[in-house]
């Protein structure tokens, strides 16, 4: 619908909307995060949910202790290789629609522990991540920014057609393989369906 006409009608007290917009508006304003902290980033996440930054303003104050009741996984902190299978399993247990924010340098790339033997080089090697936040740790404002970015992403999702949201596409994958503990590393070390190494700019 034409934006100008819509705004003109709004001035007359008539709200016109589409089902898609209404549906996305409802979803984006009640994201329930999984209460889930792995390291120091979790402290910033807790701070963001408390009165000073007040995540509740964005409809995301209800941190759920069960993956069945959560829409959003905030991977806040270092994902060790020992913890990675559990993170993927929790993600698999969440009901659709589900989203992932990878918070902090460790969760997006391994961060300062990237060359360590025990830390996963980014959770996006196993599960699809919607928003990455850099920082060590990111300030609560950065988490709020990631939230708003995710809300915009949800608002732009289509309900029908070939580019429709994943949870409305029966053929789209909802579960991802859980890595196994190997003798030297996790098996497989990455899920190639989710993550492929970017081509480095300088070679």
């Amino acid at each position: 619908m034409d934006e100008g006409l819509k705004s003109e009608l709004q001035k007359q007290g008539i709200f016109v909307t589409s089902l898609e917009e209404l549906y996305n508006w409802g979803r984006k304003n009640s994201l329930w995060p999984l209460s889930f902290g792995l390291a120091c980033c979790a402290i910033e996440m807790i701070a963001a949910s408390m009165s000073r930054w007040d995540l509740a303003r964005f409809g995301a104050e209800v941190f759920r202790p069960s993956p069945r009741q959560a829409d959003l996984m905030i991977v806040a902190g270092t994902v060790t290789k020992k913890m990675a299978p559990q993170v993927v399993r929790l993600y698999n247990q969440m009901g659709e629609p589900k989203y992932v924010i990878a918070m902090g340098a460790c969760a997006i790339s391994g961060g300062p522990f990237k060359q360590g033997y025990n830390v996963l080089k980014g959770i996006d090697r196993y599960i699809p991540v919607d928003v990455h936040i850099p920082g060590c740790p990111p300030r609560p404002e950065a988490l709020l920014h990631a939230f708003i970015t995710l809300q915009q992403k949800i608002a732009a999702q289509e309900l029908t057609g070939p580019g429709r949201a994943r949870h409305l596409d029966a053929g789209a994958p909802g579960e991802y393989p859980v890595p196994q503990f190997g003798e030297h590393d996790l098996l497989p070390p990455k899920n190639p369906d989710v993550w492929q190494p970017p081509v480095p700019a300088h070679t």
Binding site: K81, K82, S109, Y117, F181, E183, D185, P189, P197
Partner: protein, 211 residues
Amino acid sequence: METLEEIKTRVEAGIPGARLHIFANESPSAQRSLLVGNSHALSVAKFLRDDPHLRLDYCSNVTGVDWPESELTEKVKVKKLVDGEEKEVEETKKTVRPGFLEVVYHLYSIEKRHGPVILRLRTENRTDKASVPSLTPIWRGAEFQEREAFDLYGIVFDGHPDLRRILMWDEFKDFPMRKDYVEPDDYEYEPTPHDEVLERAQEHQAQAAGS
């Protein structure tokens, strides 16, 4: 607190057969330690804990050290016949020191408010005879730290009540803190490589291009 020499003399007098060696430290801290043979380690530890003057009742830290096999070079002056004349000539002598693993215990006394006394135990080698007696029966607090040393260095503690890996998963086979540990080749994406990482990343790229 007594000096390390006094402790050594008293321990050797108190426990027949025990031989301690004072391990020098050339770093600025000059913190010396006591090297104990494995056969008497338990009784020496018990002595240090129960002796009324020492009462080292608190084991604050247990850690491992990896000493891989290394070649030591020494310069030795040797008398030699050079052009019919006897002269002193410097020669370099090379000796191979076999590798071993070491466990270091830092002991304090809460009661007497002194410490630390540092105790070292050595394994025979790094492969099949990598064991030392566990001191968990003496200091219960050493339990998890000995498990950590077992996990990351592969030091086997005889007499430990529950010797399992503590940080890595049970299926893991390597000992990551050993100097010859090679981490899995996951260098496919290094945005800002330098030094060792750059080398590993280049190796990986070359391998990926070859296959």
